[in-house]
Structures are given as C-alpha cells and as structure tokens.
Amino acid sequence: MTRALRRYPVLIALCIAALFMVVPFLIVAVNAVKSPAEYSRNGPLSLPDGLYLDGLKDFWERVDYSRKLVNSVLISGSVAALAVVLSVLNAYAIGIGRIKGRTWVLAFFVLANMLPQEALVYPVYYLSKQAGLYDTRLSVIIVFTVIQAAFGTYLLSSVLGQFPREIIEAAHIDGANKWQVLWRIVVPVSRPTLGVLMVFFFIWTWNEFLLPLVMLISNDNQTVSVALGVLQGQRLMDATMTNAAALLGVLPALVFFLVFQRTLTRGIAVGAVK
C-alpha cells in the first residue's frame, strides 16, 4: 500500500521536471504574439491580450526567412541523401565485403567522427576559397556529407556485419553481381536503418553551426541556424524581435520532432549501443 502511495509523488515530480523542460518553449510562444507595447507594459510572464502577428511578419520579411528555410532544407536534404549513399557504399565494403584491414578502416572512420570541427575549419575555409567554393551552399553540402558519413559508416558497418550471409550467397548463386546485391537486396532490407540515419543526418545538419557560420557569409546562402545565431550575436534585436526569431527557429525543430519522434528516440538507442 505504501508503495502504491509513493508512486504519485514520483509521477508528480517527473511531470514538474518535464514541464520545466518545456516551459521555455511556452514562454517564447506566448511572447512572440505580444505587441511591443504590451510586452513593455506587462512583462514576459503575462498571457497575451490578443494575437499580434506583425512582429513575426516583420521579422520574417526583415531576415528573408523563406530564403533561409529553403537554404536549410536544401543543404540538410542533400546531405541526408548523399551521406546515406556514401555510408552504404563504405559499410558494404566493410560489413559485408569484409575487406582486408577493415578494423583499421573502421577505426579511421570512428576517429574521423570524433574529430572536432575546429581542427578542420580553417583549412576547409582556405581550400574552399582556393577552389572557388567559398560562400556556396555546395561547399557546406560536400563537407557535411563526409562528416555525417563518418558516423553512418561506423553504424552501418556493424549493422551490415550481421546481415544474413545466406541471402547474399543465394543472390550470388542466382547470378547477381555485387552491385546488384547491394541495390536490390542489402539496401531494401536495411531500409529502416537507412531511414533512421537519414532523419538524423537531416536534423544534425540543420542544427550545425560552426562550419556554416564560417562558410556562408552572404545573407542569400545562410541557413536558419546561422542567420539567427548571427543576429543574436550582433545584439541588435529588441525583445519582440528576439521572440519572433526564437519562435521561428523553434517551429521547424518542433515539426521534425513531432514527425520523427519515434525514429529519433529509437534511433538514438540503436546508435549508442551498436
């Protein structure tokens, strides 16, 4: 009986803790729809009198937010697709081909994955200038395709290492070559894992900050993260604008989260313990 009674305080404590995690989002949402006058009169904690959307609209137009969204979607989407392809090719050679020295190859990818971007950022900046790719979205796509593929290779190699050999042997006997086995058997069978990887690559790339900050300086090429981060860094925004910026930054993340919730929480666990 005492045990049953103890459940409720634990539940309530957990709910309060969860609420604390979500409260910042709520305050932002509430304040983004207040007019500046209302904000300065009532402060951040009051409920809004009505729906004031001009702040959001102004901000949207001022930073050309549609353009930033397009850039972010374009960069993250390309990276997600290309990095999965690159990971599959690498992992096919390591996990199924069991090439010689695969332990070392795999160790290389793990290390590449751990490498801090600070150790790459200046040469990447310098080389992309030399190659005429500086301040292009393509440069960011290339760099992140490789960076994300380091993790993808590591994860997929261990997944494909457990791929049922009989299926592959059977396909070979039926006359399929390695290329056909990869695209007609391995990829379709591993589709769930590839889907998880793609979602992760998309969101990780969306959230990236340092390299895009360095590589994308013109307004037309910036991603959502960089544009908002730079604006905040300049300390030029008033409270209403900051809230508009925060809300518009939160919304896409919230959409991804709701759409991919299951994939995300399950995928994390798969990724952490192979």
């Binding site: 459940r7 069991r98 090439i99 600070e118 150790a119 200046y122 990447v124 929480t265 952490a272």
Partner: protein, 321 residues
C-alpha cells in the same frame, strides 16, 4: 569495372576443374573508393594541413613561416588558454556528469514507476518532453535562453520578482562570476534528453527477473537501482559519458550565441578561443595549435571511452552466456 571482373570470375568458377578459391575482399574494396577520396579531401588533408600550420607563424595570407614548437610553448604560458580549458571541465560537468547522473535517475523512475504503473504511453510523452531540447538548433536554444536570462524584463528575473524574490535578480549572462554557471545550466537543459533516451532503451534489455528476485528479498527501490540497474546498464553509461564529454569539449554554438565567451573571457572555451584566434585575430598558426591540442585531448578521451565500453560489454557477456 566491378561488373566485368565479377562476370569473368564466375565463368571460370562454373567451368570444369577445381574451383578457384573465393577471394571476396578484392573487388569489394572498390566500393570504398568514393568514400576514401571524399574523406581524403574533406578530413585527412585539412586535418594534416591544420596540424602542419600549428608549427608555423601564419596570418592566413602569404606563405607560412616555420616556427617549430613556438606556438605550443606560447600556449603553455597563455593564461587565456588554460582558462578556456578550465571552463571545458565545467562544461564536462554540465554536459556529461550532471545529465548522466540525472538521466539515470529519471530514466529508472520513468521506467519503474511511470512505465510499469501508469502505462508506457505516459512514459513516452514525458520522455519526449525531456528530449525536445536535443532537437533544437543550439543557436535557437541560445536565443531562447539569452532572452529568458536577460537582465531587464527577462522571464527569469520577472519570475523572481513576481514571487517576491526580487533581490535574487541577476544579470545572469553579464555577471563575470555568474555567466559560466548560467551557461552550464542551459547546457544541462540542452543535454539531458540524450542520456535519458539511451538509458530508457538500455533498461528494456535488463532481465525483469532480476528485479523480481531483489524485490522478494526485500530490496527497496534505491538498492535495486544501485545493485541491478547501474551495473546492468554500465555499457550505456560509458557510451553516454564519452559522447557527452566529447560534445562538452566541442561546445561552440551555445557560447557564441549566449555570451561570445564573455564577459571578459569568463565563458571562453577552447573551441571559441580557436575560432576567434583564426578569424578575428587571424593568428592562424596559433589557432591551429589550440585546435590541435583540443583534438589530441578528444581523441585520447574517445580511446579511453571505447576501451571502457568494450570491457563493460565483455564483462556483461561473461555474466549472461
């Protein structure tokens, strides 16, 4: 290329006489080619360049001048450098130690109490709340919090005033004595979801009979947590600690958006320090030396983490054949 090689091999194989031994690895290596080239161009070459530049004096234009270990010697005497790494340790506490400890307790409570007695749906909703900040771009999290922690009209100060604790109001991010702790608080909020989700998944793999046996023996929640939960999900704990520590050493976006390393360097971290040295002071050689030291520390930490994880996994397999 692959196709022809493969076809020829099969023709030979089908013919009379002894089958040639299968050598699967030879042409599989071709699949690694695009990856190898891409990694060479984007990771290996830049990394070697960065390491090379760290032994030179270079402003980013003209040709670098060899200076041997001068940059590293200078680093040893640079108090800003030591400060930034000291702040990294604080970040490790905020992003690895506290989230792991809190995550363990929260995951066990969610799993034991909520999951078992109130349904897994509620547990999933609560887990989602904790995980939400992880999906947020760090730049956006920074905007949200710098506004909440703002000195005038910030929500936290307004809240303190509203509950009659007006004297507790602070310039959370502007006070040199407080800024680091404020950033730490934000990072705990950002990071907590990751350990929680990993631990909750790990708990599902623990044999429920262990708990039942312990319960029959009269072990309370805390003892079951210490003697069953903790040892059973030790591999996850090492993974989480390693990953979060590395993330803590790399932390950049949050510092850039929240404080820009300030006030007066109070929240400077190695990654931000190298960024400003590269791009604001354009002392590329010195910046490269900072990032090389950071890289060495991170790689060493990864190796230790990997070793601990494998050992824990092996030990576990020994227990459960």
């Amino acid at each position: 290329m692959t196709v022809t090689v493969e076809r020829d091999a099969r023709v030979v194989g089908k013919g009379p006489g002894p089958r040639p031994p299968r050598r699967p690895s030879s042409s599989y290596a071709l699949f690694l080619l695009p990856g190898a080239l891409a990694f060479l161009a984007v990771i290996v070459v830049p990394f070697l360049m960065n390491t090379g530049v760290s032994f030179t004096e270079w402003q980013g234009v003209g040709s670098p001048e060899w200076s041997g270990l001068a940059n590293y010697r200078e680093l040893m005497d640079d108090s800003e450098f030591w400060e930034s790494f000291r702040h990294s340790l604080f970040m490790v506490v905020a992003m690895a130690v506290i989230p792991t400890a809190l995550g363990l307790v929260l995951a066990a409570a969610l799993f034991d109490y909520v999951g078992k007695h109130f349904g897994s749906g509620l547990a999933a909703v609560l887990r989602a709340c904790f995980y939400l900040p992880q999906v947020l771009p760090i730049a956006v999290a920074g905007i949200v919090w710098s506004w909440i922690l703002a000195p005038d009209n910030g929500s936290l100060n307004a809240l303190l005033k509203a509950v009659g604790l007006g004297s507790w109001q602070q310039d959370w991010l502007g006070d040199p004595d407080l800024a680091l702790y404020s950033v730490m608080g934000v990072m705990v909020w950002v990071q907590l979801g990751f350990p929680l989700v990993v631990f909750m998944a790990g708990l599902q793999r623990v044999d429920p009979q262990l708990y039942e046996a312990a319960e029959l023996d009269g072990a309370g929640w805390w003892r079951r947590f210490r003697h069953i939960t903790l040892p059973q999900i030790r591999p996850e704990t090492y993974v989480v600690l390693t990953w979060c520590s590395i993330a803590a050493l790399k932390v950049f976006g949050a510092v850039y958006v929240l404080t820009k390393g300030g006030p007066g360097g109070a929240t400077n971290v190695p990654s931000y320090f190298s960024f400003t040295t590269f791009f604001e002071k354009t002392q590329v050689g010195y910046g490269a030396a900072i990032s090389t030291v950071l890289t060495v520390i991170i790689l060493a930490l990864s190796l230790v983490g990997l070793k601990l994880q494998t050992r824990a996994e092996d030990a576990e397999e020994g227990v459960r054949p």
